[in-house]
């Protein structure tokens, strides 16, 4: 990355790569846990672009709340059910919720996420359900 190719630096790099490989091998022997991630890269890119558009919209909303003089007194906890099966896509969904300003996933239960919303109105649940559907479509699209 720095554009310098000393033999000494390359030897250091190779030895540290070997150390990491040995440690990972040992960790794999300790618990036989395999993380399988299957998804369609094109679909994932499409989802990311949709998500960034959503982030910009939510950001403008929260910025308006911060710059207005009144304090927020309309915050509450919501329960949102999720329909993903694998761990990885549940993580994707929860991280997407947290990344959009105005909603933060607080607690994960076996059936639903507990979400804290800054400025509650009933349309929020609809948009969260739409996001859930999109992530589920992403998961089922990768399994084909």
């Amino acid at each position: 990355m720095s554009g310098i190719f000393n033999p000494l630096l390359i030897i250091f790099g190779l030895s540290s790569v070997c150390c990491v490989m040995i440690i990972i091998n040992r960790m794999y022997k300790a618990d036989n846990y395999n993380l399988k991630i299957e998804f369609n890269p094109l679909q994932f890119l499409y989802y990311l672009s949709w998500l960034s558009f959503e982030i910009v919209k939510a950001n403008l909303k929260v910025t308006k709340i911060i710059l207005s003089k009144s304090l927020p007194n309309n915050q509450r906890f919501l329960k949102v059910k999720y329909s993903q099966n694998s761990d990885f896509f549940q993580v994707v969904f929860a991280n997407s919720i947290t990344l959009t300003p105005g909603t933060i996933s607080t607690e994960t239960e076996p059936e639903y996420f507990l979400i804290h919303a800054l400025d509650y109105n009933p349309a929020d649940i609809d948009s969260l359900n739409k996001m859930d559907l999109r992530v589920t479509k992403l998961e089922s699209g990768g399994a084909k």
Binding site: M1, I55, V62, T63, I66, A94, N95, L99, S105, H116
Partner: protein, 107 residues
């Protein structure tokens, strides 16, 4: 050639100044809001849009070099760890019994 670099300069100027605006807004929200949960929401403004606008402005400024690769690596890392640490913070506060509105009612 000169007009092209002028165009790039203008784009990165716009990106950097709007990113600075969102960062100041987020910090002001953290300073202003009266209790923990709303502060957490204000910090996510800084975490999401401010960081990426500034990194994008720097990437436009540097062109296709090693520097851009490093900027992309920083952006990816913050994209994964930002929500994770926010969730860890919210979960720890939730378990310890902090609820929204307690401070507001006592005032």
């Amino acid at each position: 050639m000169d007009s092209l670099s002028f165009l790039f300069n203008t784009i990165s100027w716009i990106l950097l100044s709007s990113g600075s605006f969102f960062i100041i807004t987020g910090a002001y929200g953290i300073y202003k809001f009266p209790e923990f949960w709303s502060r957490l929401q204000a910090s996510s403004v800084t975490d999401s849009l401010g960081v990426y606008l500034i990194l994008l402005g720097l990437a436009v400024q540097s062109g296709f070099t090693f520097v851009t690769v490093k900027l992309v690596i920083i952006g990816l890392f913050l994209f994964i760890t930002g929500p994770t640490s926010t969730h860890a913070l919210a979960n720890a506060a939730f378990i310890s019994g902090l609820r929204p509105g307690e401070k507001l009612e006592s005032n």
